[in-house]
Subunit: 313 residues, 2 copies
DNA sequence: TTGTAAGCGTTATCAG
DNA sequence: CTGATAACGCTTACAA
């Protein structure tokens, strides 16, 4: 049954026939008790219905299935404490997960995490900084740079920034890169406008922006927020992109159907999920890589929410 | 350790101290081999990044965690065959799932499924017809009725329908109810316009509708499609809701931020997920219900994409 | 209240 | 190539 070849064909046939006849099925718990392997991948996610989590999940599932792994998910509340994450980690470990993918902003470098990752491999799925986990992560700084430079190249004098939830590490990384990119061009960054990923928070940020006549270009940290932001701008009588250009991040399925269609920096969530899963699997099995690693480079998608500023056009 | 009370306090303390000191943790596989229980819930989902799946998932996780269950997910490709679903079911069973939630249009009544559900309880998570699984499912017919009647009550002469993917059972149920509701008011239903849940398909349907001057009211089977549809209408120079009213289904997070904000029939996905999980858990544990059952009634949310027809207003 | 022992259903090793 | 047997780490029933 395990597919070894030191069995007489006839015997194998007889065994398989018996399996069929008796409806025999291996008992996973017994098998993993005996073999010491579970082939279970754990995933920690924050309890959210955001597009990014869902898309990430399909990538993870895909890679897991392709390699004979099964995935077990533990959800923690949004904004949960580090302790809650560690607890989820322990739950997953106890349940037999051989490797764990963190879809949450859990610092891999803390002592508590270090202790854990020594016995069971773990990786940040998305939004990992380049330093933390070399060449497979999505470079959040590149995302911000792509967005800001697109706007600047269009002729805008400066770029405002609506950031995501502070809780997430990529928020800070993008903010820093936004600031840096502006400074590199000799521009003093305007004050940052904080938000929290939700369309509602984007809407609120939009009202703030609308009250600033000189704001002509905005870099918003997610498409979801961009929807809210644009709505607020329209309500204030400011046209997008004629009065203000906006570029966001993610390229969710609906981005192309916003009014106007969003110019956005695509994050390849599925590929990121696949890459994360392949990475832990490689660690579990102790080799370098499984299959080919999907590319996770962010990409600027230019649509209709950006244009040169009025004065220039 | 199992929390029984027939132990001298002092002994318990000593045991717990040892647990702590040695870093002892129960081995789940060994435990479930011995006890015959895994406390694992299986979920079969189609591999998609749609909002509904994600939201459903958070509900399932919530109820599972609250009852000490862990969830294991198996993804199947969208439009997969019934065999693929059955295979996923088997995979989950083999892995020890004590109950399975189907987030897919798998007929529970087929002989193959019957054979399986006899040994491990299963339930359709979402989109279940009332007949199949009495009072906890979402009544797809009520959804269609709510939408169509709202439009008719506004004064529209008839209502066109853009349906979801045929693959899903709720598609047919909604189409039937749309048709029935019209007939009940003595209206002959116009031809149905088929689509497949994606914004793209909604866009295509929108072009079709735009070419029909007498169409003033549309019932679209998902918010995602409504985004595409409205975009197409606008491109054709038809205003929403002035020229055509549209009501959709789901009330996704972005529905309120569409232009115009969508009038939609809300499906309480999280509650549905919670209800589904509670249902299987109840079956597993052999009692009637665990905790209070969340209500899963659909609800019409009136926003700005509907209005009386021009001729009437 | 505590200690003991018999499984649970596999895998893996080893002698034939 | 085949068959027998000892773990794997826990739960549970029962004896003390």
């Amino acid at each position: 049954m395990s597919g070894q070849d030191n069995v007489r064909p006839d015997t194998a046939r007889r065994v398989l026939a018996a399996v069929e006849e008796l409806g025999y099925r291996v008992h996973a718990a017994a098998a993993s008790l005996a073999s010491g392997r579970t082939r279970v991948l754990g995933v920690i996610v924050v309890s959210t219905d955001r597009y990014s989590s869902a898309a990430l999940g399909v990538g993870i599932q895909q890679a897991a299935a392709a390699n004979g792994y099964t995935v077990s998910t533990a959800a923690v509340a949004d904004h949960a404490s580090a302790e809650a994450f560690l607890e989820a980690f322990d739950r997953l470990e106890r349940q037999g997960a051989e490797g764990i993918i963190l879809g949450v902003p859990l610092e891999l470098e803390s002592p508590a995490m270090r202790a854990r990752t020594e016995r069971t491999p773990a990786t940040r799925s998305e939004r990992t900084s380049l330093e933390e986990d070399a060449p497979l992560a999505v470079d959040q700084r590149a995302i911000a740079r792509l967005a800001v430079e697109h706007l600047l190249d269009l002729g805008h004098k400066t770029v405002w920034h609506v950031s995501g939830d502070d809780y997430w590490t990529e928020t800070q990384q993008r903010s820093e890169a936004w600031e840096q990119t502006l400074r590199d061009r000799g521009i003093v960054p305007p004050p940052l406008i904080p938000a929290d990923w939700t369309p509602e928070s984007g809407y609120r940020a939009g009202r703030t922006i609308a009250a600033i006549p000189e704001a002509t270009a905005v870099f918003v940290s997610s498409d979801e927020m961009a929807f809210g932001l644009i709505r607020a701008l329209h309500e204030a009588g400011r046209s997008v992109p004629d009065d203000v250009s906006v570029v966001s991040v993610d390229d969710i399925a609906l981005a192309a159907y916003a009014s106007p269609a969003l110019t956005t920096v695509r994050q390849p969530f599925e590929a990121m999920g696949r890459a994360a899963a392949l990475r832990v699997i490689a660690q579990i099995e102790g080799h370098e890589a499984v299959g080919e690693m999907p590319s996770t480079d962010p990409q600027l998608i230019v649509r209709s929410s950006t244009a040169p500023p009025r004065s220039v056009s």
